[in-house]
């Protein structure tokens, strides 16, 4: 029988309906579709897909179990390497990871590995996740700073190795960007919470309101813990640095998304934190964060939602799926357009943005073609809300308070491949080490650090 060349479709909410709610957009595969999709896998001997997975999931292994209808076994295989599969199955850029190197791509579309991972994670969650056997307690203690995907993965793996692990989180909720950044309609918070609960069931303690560097310092953590892992992310918003950026109506993507997601402003006044959204919203930038802002705006009732980006569509850093979803929902893309100033009324309320048209020149350091302003091409666009989503830098709180910590070029913490910093016993991984990247790279870093920490602790005695 010839192999089907395309992935099985995943049903989703229609654009017209979904822009009126915050419910998840795709519904996920059902059992039958999952089995059919799993049967497309060729079970390649050399397992190229696994090289594309930063958390080393035995991909053909779990897909084979699905094809045979043994979902429990499939879940076990996935969970063996990945403690947060319901998260990665939804937001992992698998097109550049596992699916990007799948053998089936030679004849058509790859196996829908991400969707299958999501199916199996949801199947297991609904059934009630099994807690794996833990290694014997080692009597050693590890502190994890930050409960984003890097910290959670590192914590889960270390707990499985038998160490006593405590996660210190500055905010009142776990998950990092998974909770405050990525919107409900892409990653329901119920799912993040249940993945965190799984990590807790492995024996990990999570403590909130712990701003490390302020409430407790890293040095103090070393008085009690044998090793410390820093996974504090890239939370510092970047600005356009143009006039008018402090007008009423201009938000950083982080403030906007945090108000809506973590503080529940979309349920205001049931939740106490407000957010104000105008009729015409412009989001600056074209990454995942920008798509999330533009789509959230529509759901909050904006009549028009622009993406304003200084390069062209081929350079947009967001995942294709996100761009596609945004387009379907009616987000208007204004490409090769760069803001030069925000304009407000006499009360300081944002009313317009002045932009200039751009053209593309030679490639720059990033390998992308450099945008160049076209003289006399200014235009003003009427807007009442601006969301600045042009990237984040590593959070400076920890680096500022740890003496002798070697830093990298971009104010990131300098580490080796396994997360070792310049200070023995201090490890770091995820966005704080690499600069803003992806969930799965953060998880992969957490995993490698867990192994290195285990080795370090055992060698220390």
């Amino acid at each position: 029988m010839a192999v089907r060349k395309t992935k099985h479709e995943m049903p989703e909410q229609s654009p017209k309906k979904r822009i009126k709610n915050f419910k998840e957009v795709p519904y996920g595969y059902d059992k039958e579709t999952s089995i059919e999709e799993a049967k497309r896998c060729l079970q390649c001997k050399n397992k190229p897909c696994m090289d594309g997975c930063p958390v080393e999931i035995d991909i053909p292994g779990f897909i084979k179990c699905i094809a045979e209808g043994d979902f429990d076994k499939a879940a076990e295989v996935v969970k063996d390497k990945n403690s947060l599969p319901a998260v990665s199955g939804r937001v992992c850029p698998y097109e550049n990871q596992c699916e990007g190197v799948c053998t089936l791509k030679k004849i058509g579309e790859p196996v829908a590995i991400g969707r299958l991972e999501r199916f199996i994670a949801d199947y297991e969650r609904e059934k009630g996740a099994k807690i794996p056997k833990k290694a014997k307690s080692t009597g050693k203690k590890v502190a994890i700073v930050g409960s984003g995907p890097a910290g959670l993965t590192c914590a889960g793996d270390l707990a499985k190795m038998g160490h006593a692990v405590t996660v210190f989180e500055a905010l009142h909720a776990p998950g990092g960007v998974l909770m405050y950044g990525i919107p409900e309609f892409r990653l329901p918070k119920k799912i993040v919470n249940s993945e965190v609960n799984y990590i807790k069931k492995l024996g990990v303690e999570v403590r909130y309101d712990m701003v490390i560097g302020k409430t407790i310092t890293v040095d103090e953590l070393f008085e009690e813990y044998d090793a410390v892992f820093i996974g504090t992310g890239a939370g510092l918003p970047r600005w356009l640095k143009i006039p008018g950026e402090n007008l009423d109506g201009v938000y950083s993507a982080n403030e906007f998304l945090t108000r809506v997601n973590m503080m529940g402003a979309y349920r205001f006044p049931e939740c106490d934190t407000p957010v104000k959204i105008g009729k015409i919203v412009a989001t600056f930038g074209a990454g995942n964060v920008a798509m999330d802002c533009a789509r959230t705006s529509l759901r909050l009732g904006a009549e028009k939602s622009y993406i304003i980006y200084r390069r062209s569509d081929v350079e947009m850093p967001a995942r294709n799926e996100e761009i596609e979803h945004a387009r379907e929902e009616g987000v208007v893309f204004k490409l090769l357009t760069n803001p030069v100033k925000f304009i407000g009324d006499d009360k300081g309320l944002l009313t317009q943005v002045e932009c200039i048209k751009m053209k593309l020149g030679e490639p720059d350091d990033s390998g992308r073609r450099r945008p160049i302003p076209i003289p006399d091409s200014e235009e003003t666009i009427k807007i009442d809300t601006a969301l600045v989503a042009i990237g984040q830098s590593p959070n400076p709180l920890i680096p500022q308070t740890v003496k002798g910590l070697k830093m990298g070029k971009w104010r990131n913490i300098d580490t080796d491949e396994d997360g070792r910093t310049s200070i023995p016993g201090l490890f770091a991984g995820g966005d704080i080490a690499t600069g803003a990247a992806t969930v799965i790279l953060a998880m992969g870093a957490g995993k490698r650090s867990a192994r290195a920490i285990n080795k370090y602790i055992k060698s220390k005695k």
């Binding site: 510092l236 600005w239 007008l247 950083s252 982080n254 945090t258 300081g348 959070n395």
Partner: protein
């Protein structure tokens, strides 16, 4: 959970609470603040650390009931608990021997001034305190602040106590009278801090103010608390809350603090507070 151990009514709209939070108390310093959340659906609001007791593990907060969260907080009783209480946040005040310092507190800004007055006195400064309020009933911590001050003045808008008029009038008198003032610290309504800064600029007196922009996380992540200082954007929660008063763009702060007024009113109306 963080338990309320003590509660005191300071004036009609101002209340004091002592909260059990040993790890915060261990690190707290004058000039820093905490962020609290009453319950699961609550907003995160910043309040200054008005006092702390490291031995007992308590933090004192003094707050004015201005909106939904502070009014709800005011209804809580001794024995009740708060869901979240994170801190100490922000940079501590720079406490050292300046010489003669004038500490000015207006309205609920008197509360955060108290630990600073205390610390400045203990550092060997000659402390002149000026407290201001709309009327006598709204004054706070008079005795406490007076006991750490070398000179002590009061100004009320209606003249019900002390000088009739503004704290800046008293400051002007002090500037005229004194040989030298080495530093002025002003905490209170934005407009008060602006007037004080405008006055001291003329005499080139170093002036620190403590800013109160709207905050969300308090860790430098959201940028909602950004203020413009000498044309540069700073985050009050990590770079502040104290800044050089001569460099602050007060107009912008006033504007940004009005961002959610309509929504806040709606929230109060629906909650019936």
């Amino acid at each position: 959970m963080y338990k309320i151990l003590e509660k005191k009514v300071m004036s009609e709209t101002v209340k004091l609470m002592k909260i059990k939070a040993p790890i915060v108390a261990k690190k707290a310093q004058a000039g820093q603040f905490i962020i609290l959340r009453i319950d699961d659906k609550g907003e995160r609001i910043p309040l200054t650390i008005a006092d702390f007791d490291r031995k007992k593990g308590t933090i004192t907060i003094i707050f004015m009931e201005v909106g939904k969260t502070t009014k709800q907080l005011g209804t809580l009783k001794v024995g009740d608990s708060l869901e979240n209480f994170a801190g100490p946040l922000g940079m501590p005040s720079e406490i050292k021997k300046y010489g003669t310092v004038v500490c000015i507190g207006g309205g609920v800004g008197i509360a955060p001034l108290y630990p600073i007055v205390k610390a400045l006195k203990e550092a060997g400064n000659h402390v002149v305190s000026i407290l201001g309020a709309r009327n006598e009933k709204l004054l706070l911590l008079e005795k406490e602040i007076e006991s750490f001050s070398d000179e002590f003045y009061i100004a009320t808008d209606d003249g019900s106590k002390g000088h009739k008029g503004f704290v800046s009038d008293v400051l002007q008198e002090q500037i005229d009278k004194k040989e030298k003032i080495d530093m002025v610290m002003a905490i209170g309504p934005v407009i008060m801090m602006k007037v004080v800064a405008d006055l001291t600029r003329k005499y080139d007196i170093k002036t620190l103010v403590s800013l109160n922009p709207i905050m969300v996380d308090g860790t430098g992540m959201c940028g909602g608390c950004r203020v413009s200082i000498g044309g540069e954007t700073k985050f009050a929660c990590v770079d502040g809350p104290e800044f050089d008063g001569h460099l602050v763009d007060f107009e912008n702060l006033m504007l940004r603090n009005r961002r959610f007024i309509k929504e806040e009113e709606e929230s109060c109306r629906l909650a019936g507070v």
